[in-house]
Amino acid sequence: VDGLVREDAGRGPDVGRFPWLVARLRRGPVHFAGLDELSSEAAIDCNSFARLGISSAIIVPLIDGTRLLGALTFSVQRRAHGRPADLLERLEFVGGIFSGLLLRRRNEVELQKLRRDLTHVGRVSTMGELAAALAHELNQPLTAILTNAQVAERLLDKGVTKPTELREILADIVADDKRAGEVIRRLRGFLKKDPPRRSSLDLNAVIQDVVLLVHSDAIIRNVTVVLDLAPGLPPVHADRVQLQQVVLLEPHHERAGRHARRGGPSSWHRDARQRGRESAGVGQRSGRRSPGGRPAAGLRRLLHDEGPRARHGTLHRPIAHPGARRPGVGAQQRGCRHNIHIHPAPGRAEE
């Protein structure tokens, strides 16, 4: 009985459907050698057992301290069975192992949830830092829209009605409105607190999306972003938001540090050509080697290459990583490193 899965589905552990059994399991293992040994309150379950052809069973509770996690049922179908004296003891031992595993699994799930929350928090605080930049990003189209609309009013007020001119103005307004909408769409996608959902992604598109997101942040920090993307990379199987985070956090803190250090214009050169090929290559090779496929290794590689002591292209010397001295930053980065680590892509990723 995997009480965990049922509980996650919001229905409570499976054993909850056997009130008589739950009460008895709390006191220790339950066993019966024939359905007639069961009490009358178990009538419904007796019918189920009979339908399944179960004539005798040993049910071992899975217990964590005092908490009943579930139960392990060993049953015999069709024919009655003698019971060796030490069988119960051995089954209880097996039950103990199962309890341990169940507990570990449950803790893992809780930990994953915590980690997801933490990642979300990290993302939100990063967004806080980027808020000013995004205001800029939204303000540009808003400025253009307002100005264009006012120009159109002025032209109409003055009786100047050249359709071509007005049409141009309207076209600009429409385009800028869409641009502002895009900024919001990207932001919303980034902030969503959904469980990771993997899909086939174009790594270059993800990088470009993030670069758009940090565009004005880079400007404020006097950083020029140079992209050198290899065309035609094979798709990567990953969660879009996590991948965006990986791309975002590293250069973001990199830039923050450099800005604080020198304040002068600098350039962040991201060379995805080499790295992208490498990632794809790693994924494909291991994908072929093991059916489990581990293209995630390629993504880790990408991240490591962008890590603290990594060189960013050839335009400048590597600098010490600012995150090392800033609590919180490291945690965020560990968060995304870990996310990629704990969600290895499935075998079909070698597409």
């Binding site: 000013a132 253009a144 307002l146 100005t147 264009n148 032209l155």
Partner: protein
């Protein structure tokens, strides 16, 4: 020239009477530096509709390379530009003897940006999105206050 005011509060929309004369050609070149193409187009339309001659630049680099058509009567600069910020450009121009009345526009309404603008001696500091009438008003006042050649 001291930064007279933060015109966000001081500026008031122009009266319609002033707008009616907007067709007439006003002597004066207004140079715009903004990295956003759409904003440049919109500002050009607006300022041209008020009768000024307009030229636009996408970056400070472009200004330094291409140079102005003539001595601008007024500069409209986005404080945050990719290559060099607007105040740096303005300081550089001033250093080269081109003290041009400057209107800074910014998408960042914060004390730091305002400080930068004030130190650079801008005439007016406007926050995006800018109201067209406020900007035109600021330009007209900047052009009118243009000192013959005193870089005070």
């Amino acid at each position: 020239m001291r930064p007279t005011s933060n015109t966000r509060s001081a500026a008031r929309p122009l009266q319609l009477g002033a707008m009616a004369r907007a067709d007439e050609h006003v002597p004066g070149l207004v140079s715009i530096v903004d990295e956003d193409a759409s904003v440049r187009r919109a500002l050009r339309r607006l300022i041209e509709s008020a009768g000024f001659t307009v030229e636009t630049f996408a970056s400070c680099e472009e200004v330094l390379h291409r140079g102005f058509l003539e001595r601008p009567a007024c500069l409209v600069i986005d404080v945050h530009l990719g290559d060099m910020n607007g105040s740096q450009l303005q300081l550089r121009l001033t250093a080269e003897g081109l003290a041009i009345p400057t209107i800074f526009v910014t998408a960042h309404d914060d004390a730091v940006t305002e400080g930068i603008a004030e130190r650079a001696g801008c005439v007016t500091y406007l926050t995006k999105p800018i109201d067209g009438d406020v900007l035109l008003d600021a330009i007209r006042r900047a052009v009118a206050s243009l000192p013959p050649s005193s870089p005070s």
